[in-house]
Symmetry: C2
Subunit: 333 residues, 2 copies
């Protein structure tokens, strides 16, 4: 078969702080021949996630990308050539396909996706890492109860919006944190949260405390310090803090800020529980089934922010660090 050249976004320079456009270079490269065990995938949908920022540094959070190599990203595509017994041309697969048009990847790093007629992008969002992170966080790590006060950072985001909605369904009072009027409106009007606090507004911490007169029983942290410290100050005795990452910290993994309020953990008998959705790999099917049922009944709202063309990757990627994304960030190459 005839394969055109691969177009890919390579990491041209490591960032300091915000990952500006100068970090990236769009390149054309030959696709090497498929060797035994490998699969060639034509990528059709690329996921843009906060953890990718950490992969750009030399300091590793589940590894790091080498300079002048294609940027890592989760994605979905169609098998076009296979030297693995597990895959055939035409299969729809998901894996760390990278920010590129073609991905040559070991078969054992891929999974076959069973897709109904929903868009592929849903399997990178609501049925993918972010949705599953929210699902296992709110069903396995902690189970919110009616009357509890649940606080969720990045409440308009891909993970936070699922966390917040599942906590609401469980009967808790849910307060979100989001940046800007539009996202705050989305949280209140579309997700149905009880309150939402704008972290970009003046008096952020006072507003947070005012929205939580009965303190916090469960805090779901996606951002890290300083919000993590503010939440620790508001935690009720025997409360639970859950962390699956920290977008504020991914920008400087060489000098992560630890929560200086962590002594609230012994003082108030808190549990600080961490996880990533990869700790639940063997339960993904259960998670997707549960989320699909909610989506089909119209009981789970989610938004996507889709860009088209690899050349738009740098700008689209940057949105999540300035809070300008309007939903789960997706790139079509």
């Amino acid at each position: 078969m005839e394969i055109p050249q691969n177009e890919c976004i390579v990491l041209a320079a490591r960032p300091s702080g915000l990952p500006e456009a100068a970090c990236w270079r769009l390149e054309c490269r030959d696709v090497p021949p498929v060797i035994p065990g490998q699969v060639l995938v034509e990528v059709d949908t690329i996921s843009i996630d906060p953890a990718m920022r950490a992969w750009m540094d030399e300091f590793c959070y589940l590894g790091c990308v080498e300079l002048n190599q294609p940027m890592w990203a989760f994605g979905i595509g169609r098998v076009v050539d296979s030297a693995s017994p597990d895959f055939e041309p035409g299969d729809t697969v998901r894996g760390l396909l990278g920010v590129q048009r073609y991905s040559l990847i070991a078969g054992d790093e891929l999974e076959t996706l069973e897709i109904s007629d929903e868009p592929h992008s849903w399997h990178l969002g609501i049925f993918g890492m972010p949705g599953l992170t929210g699902y296992f966080g709110m069903t396995d790590l902690v189970q919110p109860r009616p009357g509890q006060q649940v606080l969720v950072s990045t409440a308009a985001g891909a993970v936070g919006s699922v966390v917040a909605q599942l906590a609401k369904r469980a009967g808790a009072r849910v307060v979100g944190i989001a940046g800007g009027t539009d996202k705050n409106r989305f949280c209140l009007d579309e997700l149905g949260l009880d309150a939402c606090v704008d972290y970009k507004a003046a008096n952020y911490e006072q507003n947070l405390a005012a929205a939580l007169p009965d303190g916090v029983d469960i805090y779901f942290d996606n951002v890290g310090v300083p919000t993590l410290d503010m939440a620790l100050r508001l935690m009720n005795e025997c409360g639970t803090v859950i962390a699956c990452g920290a977008i504020n910290q991914f920008q400087h993994m060489d000098r992560v800020e630890g929560p200086t309020e962590y002594l609230k953990i012994p003082e108030r008998k808190l549990s600080f529980l961490g996880f990533t959705c990869f700790h639940y790999l063997e339960r993904f099917h259960e998670g997707v089934t549960a989320l699909r049922a909610l989506v089909e009944r119209g009981e789970l709202v989610f938004k996507e922010d889709i860009a088209i063309g690899l050349a738009n990757f740098p700008e689209h990627f940057l949105k999540q660090f300035t809070g300008q994304n309007q939903g789960k960030l997706i790139l079509k190459p």
Copy 2:
């Protein structure tokens, strides 16, 4: 009845860093008359604990002591006068009696102690806060299992030595951290730990890693950063970190250092659980009974470091911050 003047140690100045002798003043004060609800106690045994350092600052960890007021401390004494229906002269009581000879205190802040023929000091150590902290930490918050790797900071100390011995009894491999040759010898020879690492020796972190070739499943933290960060780097997937305080941090509660390695918590699905023994107030009797059985069978080793005379308080208190104490610090006024 005739009460002599009260001798007490007052907080003369707030410390910066080490709590030097200049922070304290020995004073004589009149004992005011007992008003309804109050009890007058003649103190016979005073507990010296790390958390007292935090109480010296204006930044509160369970409150703070006012300048020129008697220093807080847990202690045991004998009721000499009572205007509370719950106490009679001659009762042996425990409470926040302060670093002084006589304590005038509300009856509802006291508990009656049932003492056999053991020394009162045991009820401030092995049967008191430190022993109970170790007991509930290792039986309620986490239950070590055979084959697990347990790491304990301040392993020669009042809390750590109980934690380490209970983990050994549960069948775990236990590695201690202690300062200096004597304490390391004590941990190996008398507590029976599998290994002990000297935090004052060169190459501390390398030695720690070398003592834990299979990583750490349970880490009991009494110290905070930097040891907490070192332990986080060594934690195994799904491990548990327990914290009940942090002696390194109690010296500067206005600028506590947070653990910069806290993102290991999500990365490795760790649980970071906090508590103080006061969260188990209603289970103290159970804890003391269990600890007493072990002590009576000679299966729980503990050491006390007792000084006599209020004038020796400043020097005795300082020992726990320089690591010079040889067991639970006790002062007889």
